[in-house]
């Protein structure tokens, strides 16, 4: 099959507008689809971020108080609640906390290496919990030790408290002490007194998933304190394997049996990690779906456009095709002609599209602080669109190859 590019180019020159329109359409589609796929990729990466939590078995109760209690009263109630929860047959462990991974926004502190440092070294999410928190969340301790029960302080409402011990995530340990010597070292978390690293867990997601959190991904710390906050406390509960549903049913009953002077929102006061994940990544998942739909519609419309225009060309050139066939061109030659023609237009389109894709991405980086488009995405977009073009042109091209040489003798 000898493909002659020159006659094709000559023929295309007679269809300048149509050729240009297909090329422009391919270029725009490539540029948009590349950026959309890139957004999808980023969002899917976010959706699959690891929390470090034993998500299959952990649930969270947002426990608020119905009365104005003192810190002492709250502390007694929290301890009693914990005992009651841990005694439930389906529950492995329970701990009070100021927040939990993937909560969707919460508490973070700047970290400095000296108390009078002006520019902070970095930022860390802050959790407060007792010696049961590590096991309750199911965190993996990779170095050092857990808190002892006598290290756990009592923290009242909005109390400024800086415990001398701290457990940090591996990401934070590595950020502060890249040489791996974090254990036993100290730092300052917006406090006059230092906290010494006694343990390292890996991983431990921050509460939030915002751009600020992404900038400090995985950097978290746990301080040993029971948060006896008048505004409410999160109770983290870890069920025994397979008993999550039962434990979620029994836990509020056990708490109300302890005291009725509490508010657990009947709608969303108790959530397992499937719900928590769903809530925090709501917009990321939605964006990925939306971009997916738009990309699919774009590709379908571009393909349909190519089919439509090529069909028109085939119809217009039936006589010429007939003449070529009569002069000895095989069906393969005709098929090859249209496939090559489309490939040439496609290559022109994707060349412009690649430039446009990077242009759009650069503009988005400057406007929305998105990430830089990776070359792999553009490359796969180029292949995708060229294949799409060839696929779309196939049906009209086959129809063209079936034009009989007799057509050459007909006047229309």
């Amino acid at each position: 099959m000898s493909l002659q590019i020159k006659p094709i180019l000559v023929a295309l020159r007679r269809h300048k507008a149509g050729t240009l329109l297909i090329a422009v359409q391919i270029a725009l589609t490539l540029a948009i689809v590349c950026n959309a796929l890139f957004i999808i990729h980023q969002r899917l990466a976010t959706l699959s971020e690891r929390s470090g939590v034993d998500e299959a078995n952990v649930f969270v109760i947002a426990n608020q108080w119905a009365v104005d209690w003192t810190t002492q009263q709250i502390d007694a109630q929290v301890r009693a609640d914990m005992l009651a929860l841990r005694q439930l047959p389906g529950v492995r462990n329970a701990a009070p906390s100021t927040g939990y991974p993937l909560q969707g926004g919460g508490w973070d502190n700047f970290i400095t290496m000296t108390p009078d440092q002006i520019k902070p070294t970095t930022d860390s999410a802050v959790y407060m919990g007792d010696e049961h928190l590590l096991d309750t969340l199911g965190l993996r301790l990779v170095a050092g030790r857990n808190f002892h029960s006598d290290e756990v302080l009592v923290m009242g409402t909005q109390q400024a408290l800086v415990p001398p011990q701290v457990i940090v995530s591996k990401a934070l340990a590595h950020r502060l002490f890249p040489d791996g010597s974090a254990l036993g070292k100290s730092f300052y978390a917006m406090a006059a007194s230092p906290s010494t690293i006694i343990g390292i867990v890996d991983p431990l997601h921050r509460q939030g998933a915002s751009p600020w959190d992404k900038l400090h991904a995985g950097q978290s710390l746990i301080w040993p304190a029971r948060p006896d906050d008048a505004r409410g406390v999160f109770y983290i509960v870890r069920a025994k394997p397979g008993q999550l549903a039962a434990a979620m049913r029994e836990a509020p009953k056990a708490l109300y049996a302890q005291s009725r002077l509490r508010i657990i929102d009947p709608k969303d006061g108790i959530q397992d990690y499937a719900q928590i994940r769903h809530r925090v990544f709501d917009s990321d998942r939605g964006m990925a779906i939306l971009m997916g739909i738009i990309s699919a519609v774009l590709l379908a419309i571009t393909a349909a456009g190519i089919v439509g225009l090529t069909s028109f060309w085939v119809g217009q050139r039936r006589k010429q095709i007939g003449i070529r066939r009569a002069l000895g061109a095989t069906r393969g030659d005709i098929l090859g002609y249209f496939l090559t023609e489309n490939l040439l237009i496609g290559i022109g389109g994707v060349l412009a599209g690649v430039v446009l894709a990077f242009g759009i991405n650069l503009w988005m980086v400057s406007q929305f602080e998105t990430a830089r488009l990776s070359l792999a995405y553009v490359a796969s977009g180029v292949v995708l669109l060229l294949l799409l073009g060839q696929g779309a042109v196939l049906a009209p091209a086959v129809r063209a190859s079936h034009v009989s040489p007799v057509e050459a003798t007909r006047s229309v």
Partner: protein, 438 residues
């Protein structure tokens, strides 16, 4: 003549149903995607109080200086207790209010009912007239109530219904966080989006309707803690809610009403003088770094419109553009296929104008059909936008008459625009050449 063109167009469209359906689908999908994302964009970028937003200002005072962890030089987007209460005491604007988010428990009077947890704000009396808050019953409280730290409350119609049934409850008592408050006003479904008076705590959008408003100084005096964001550049030296009030942590939103440019200039000078005084007193180790933006500018600066919403709209507009390029190509093919017919018409004396009218009518018909399909798909899109967007935002997207009108208009105009070049080409067909070659 127009009826004749309509008939011609219809006949032509029927002759190649595949191509026609393809064009209608492209226009329909392109318009629907754009309009659906636009409905969301319109909802989140709307002015929540258009008749007054130019007179509402958000003062920001830099009480952190260079030790704020950011590089953009912007002061914090909320105030600490000292600055907020000083500004309230000085009372330099026509109306103003400091406010902070609260989340108290409310105990229903009826025995056996569970306590409820509600959210709301502690505000000053001028909050209600300043923001034109609508009341179903009663009114806000007075400046005297502010000063006397009166136990009064304004509640939402929703909470009113829950506690008292659907009656005028002004004068009745509601138990908030263990203390009795007299209801002075019941709001009439007030849930502005974006939640412009407290962007700090909502990021702009919130599904929760605010249920209770209490006098600011009353809430402070009974120690009703702040339930919103608290941002600190250093850990407070003292503990508890009182410790927070003595700290440089920012947790109070502030809004002032300034009627004209002179008032704005005067207020700006006042803020700078205040900051300069603080610098002299040694509290601020830096020159005054204040901001006084009106509401639209403030919402813009706080990036209340989610980036995803803007990106979605742009991508959808890109889709519409591709659909239009597609339509140009298909119309071109369709029109030029009829070169013979055009040649005959021209030879029989039809002027170019007639050709223009005939083919633009045809393009317009495709546009109208695409618009109708686009309307249906936009309806589906707006209804199902909740599947892909957070509830706080998707709830705001609405399909109303203006959106319907825009959808149809965009579809028809876009298609006419797309039809211009193909029609131009059709009108240039040489009658003699066409007649000869056939």
């Amino acid at each position: 003549m127009f009826a004749y063109y309509l008939e011609l167009a219809l006949r032509s469209l029927k002759r190649s149903p595949g191509l026609t359906v393809l064009m209608v689908l492209a226009i329909g999908f392109g318009v629907a995607a754009s309009m659906t994302t636009y409905s969301v964009f319109r909802a989140v970028s709307g002015d929540p109080i258009p008749w007054k937003s130019a007179q509402l200002f958000v003062p920001q005072i830099d009480n952190w200086g260079p030790k704020n962890g950011t590089d953009d030089g912007e002061p914090p987007n909320a105030m600490d207790y000292l600055d907020a209460t000083t500004l309230m005491r000085d009372h330099r604007a026509k109306r103003q209010s400091a406010m902070y988010q609260i989340s108290p428990s409310v105990v229903p009077a009826q025995a056996g009912k569970h306590p409820l947890n509600v959210t709301g704000h502690a505000v000053y009396s001028e909050f209600f007239p300043m923001l034109d808050v609508p009341f179903l019953y009663g009114n806000g409280w007075s400046a005297q109530d502010d000063a006397q730290r009166a136990a009064v409350a304004v509640i939402s119609s929703k909470l009113n219904e829950k506690l008292f049934g659907n009656v005028d409850s002004v004068g009745r008592t509601v138990n908030i966080e263990g203390r009795d408050y007299r209801v002075v006003g019941v709001l009439d479904h007030w849930n502005p989006q974006p939640r412009f008076y407290d962007v700090t705590n909502t990021g702009g959008f919130s599904e929760n309707v605010e249920d209770v408003f209490l006098p600011f100084e009353r809430a402070i005096s009974v120690g009703l803690p702040n339930n919103g964001n608290t941002n600190c550049n250093a850990t407070p030296k003292e503990s508890g809610f009182v410790g927070l009030q003595h700290s440089e942590c920012v947790w109070i939103a502030y809004m002032a009403e300034l009627d004209d440019a002179a008032a704005v200039t005067a207020y700006r000078q006042y803020l700078d003088a205040y900051a300069k005084n603080q610098q002299k007193a040694g509290r601020f180790g830096w020159a005054p770094n204040n901001r006084l933006r009106n509401l639209p500018d403030y919402l813009e600066q706080q990036q209340v419109v989610p980036r995803d919403t803007k990106v979605s709209l742009l991508v959808a507009l890109g889709l519409l553009l591709v659909c239009l390029v597609n339509t140009v190509g298909l119309l071109l093919a369709k029109f030029l296929r009829r070169s013979g017919e055009i040649g005959v018409r021209r030879a029989l004396g039809a002027p170019r104008k007639a050709i223009y009218l005939q083919f633009l009518t045809e393009a317009g018909m495709v546009g109208a059909a695409g618009g109708v399909l686009g309307l249906l798909l936009t309806g589906v899109g707006v209804a199902s936008v909740g599947l892909v967007l957070p509830k706080s935002i998707s709830d705001l997207a609405r399909l109303d008459l203006s959106l319907l009108a825009i959808t149809l208009l965009v579809a028809v105009l876009a298609t006419l625009l797309a039809g211009l070049y193909p029609t131009f080409r059709a009108s240039r067909v040489q009658p003699a050449w066409q007649l000869k070659s056939n």
